[in-house]
Symmetry: C2
Subunit: 305 residues, 2 copies
């Protein structure tokens, strides 16, 4: 079971798929002004351990290198949603969202972190990177989340999340998960004595992930969590992102009109359900109602455009 | 990880949904003649441990008591598929399939067991009970499978398998899995020190199960597997079957024509995929090609009616 209380656990920055495009020069100017600030604040990863920061910087550099030309250079989010904290300075968060260009298959890439002090005296630190594709392809989304609530344990969620019902579309399961042998990453990690399966308290989160998803808790007294991240998690996360970029984001697929409608509708449900499950319940507790509303409203505005 | 080699593991009697109805008196006579034989052979559970046999007899009695009036009294399968073995007498199997009456929501109830000697000198014993509903309801199917390949370990698969994509139908997830707090059974079992999560080698099996599915390995040297079955597995299996009968099999649901078509199509994919994944690869290895063909052909005949 989780080392983190279900009431504390947040899946906040992930599985959101706002479809936002810049339409006017005002937006461009505003976002351009706030871009460096938002990106710089995120890239600080001020509360992450050195290996987590190193991993995130490497992953984001890979995204820049390989997908930068398919993404808007500036952040889509208003500056007050790019970085925010609560009034007592016990909680901070940073979000950096880059929309894909209309000509690309990429909907958005969202990186971010949340840090908050826990009543117990410890702290909860969540670091995440997710990347979503448009309905012009049915290829899976990418998801990485690292949740740390103590120096000796870490929850890792790493997956290529399916866009289709794997039962109604068995060829999708075969194409993206069986033929690619994606399960080898999970098998490799779970062979380590420090690794145990993790069950998200949200049934929705369990249901949205693929059957090869890595949901594990790392807990060790003999080997440091930092060492495990460096030796075991980082190579797998980098491998999976590389695979996702090459085989999902950059590979064109034939998707007809009815499939596009299906993918769009499924993503719409995901977006609404994610707000309900994760944001609506977690943000007010961590940041207070006012800040939570501000962030939620900004995201909802994008969802409804 | 599994205690059983993926090459040996069979999910054979489960998740098959033949939609067979008696249409002629010849069938009735033939099946009536073979009914007692087939049921009696299954109910022997000659290779199951005492607590597994006790559990299965209790579950099947419950089905008889509560659902008997909704089921054909006779087995739907021809006698040579109700009980069969290989030429070297190292493998035996018994299947008992009762179709639901046209007036009921029950498609079929399938009980059975497979036993085969392993090259290592041990034996593999699979005991299963599954129950399927028609497309007149969207309620989940019932699935129980006990897989034992050594006296000190057991794999348990216990689930109410969803009929709909839980992402596209979040209210389905809420109705059948969240509001019912089905996850408490998994939590209770996984709190035991003898229990570890089990990953089916088949991604399809992982995908077809619900997010509250119990997939665990029981392994213990201090407490016997028999004791664990009696103390921990039996109460949960009986609870879940009772819940399924009361809240799924016997509760009418509003299902419109388009939903029925969706459910029928999804079940069709499940049937075909199950043949491909489980039967096609496993039966020839365990029983030889001739017997495997005979069983597969009989089931395929039902599928294609």
């Amino acid at each position: 079971m989780a080392v983190i209380s279900p009431n504390v656990l947040v899946h906040f920055p992930v599985i959101t798929t706002p479809k936002v495009r810049f339409t006017g020069s005002r937006s461009k100017v505003r976002c351009s002004n706030s871009m460096d600030y938002g990106k710089a604040k995120m890239m600080e990863f001020p509360y992450a351990s050195a290996p987590i920061k190193k991993l995130m910087v490497e992953l984001l550099s890979t995204v820049d290198d390989k997908l930068g030309s398919s993404l808007h250079a500036t952040s889509t989010l208003p500056s007050h949603v790019q970085h925010f904290g609560n009034s007592t300075r016990t909680a901070q968060a940073s979000l950096h969202l880059r929309s894909g260009l209309p000509s690309s298959q990429i909907d958005l890439v969202l990186g971010g972190w949340i840090h908050c002090k826990l009543p117990s005296g410890g702290a909860l630190s969540i670091t995440s990177l997710s990347a979503y594709l448009t309905s012009s392809t049915d290829a899976p989304h990418f998801l990485l989340e690292l949740i740390q609530s103590s120096p000796t344990s870490l929850v890792l969620i790493l997956d290529l999340t399916p866009r289709k019902d794997l039962i109604l579309y068995p060829e999708y399961l075969k194409n993206y998960y069986e033929d690619t042998q994606l399960d080898r990453h999970r098998q490799r990690l779970q062979a380590l004595p420090e690794v145990t399966p993790y069950y998200s308290p949200s049934l929705y989160i369990r249901a949205v992930l693929s059957p090869t998803a890595i949901l594990v808790t790392l807990a060790s007294e003999s080997k440091s969590i930092e060492q495990l991240i460096e030796d075991d998690i980082s190579p797998i996360a980098k491998d999976l992102l590389h695979f996702w970029i090459e085989s999902c984001a950059c590979l064109a697929r034939e998707v007809d009109a009815s499939e596009r409608a299906y993918l769009a509708e499924r993503d719409r449900v995901i977006k609404n359900k994610t707000i309900e499950v994760d944001l609506g319940s977690s943000l007010p507790r961590l940041f207070g109602q006012e800040i939570a509303d501000r962030v939620l409203d900004a995201l909802k505005e994008y969802y409804n455009k």
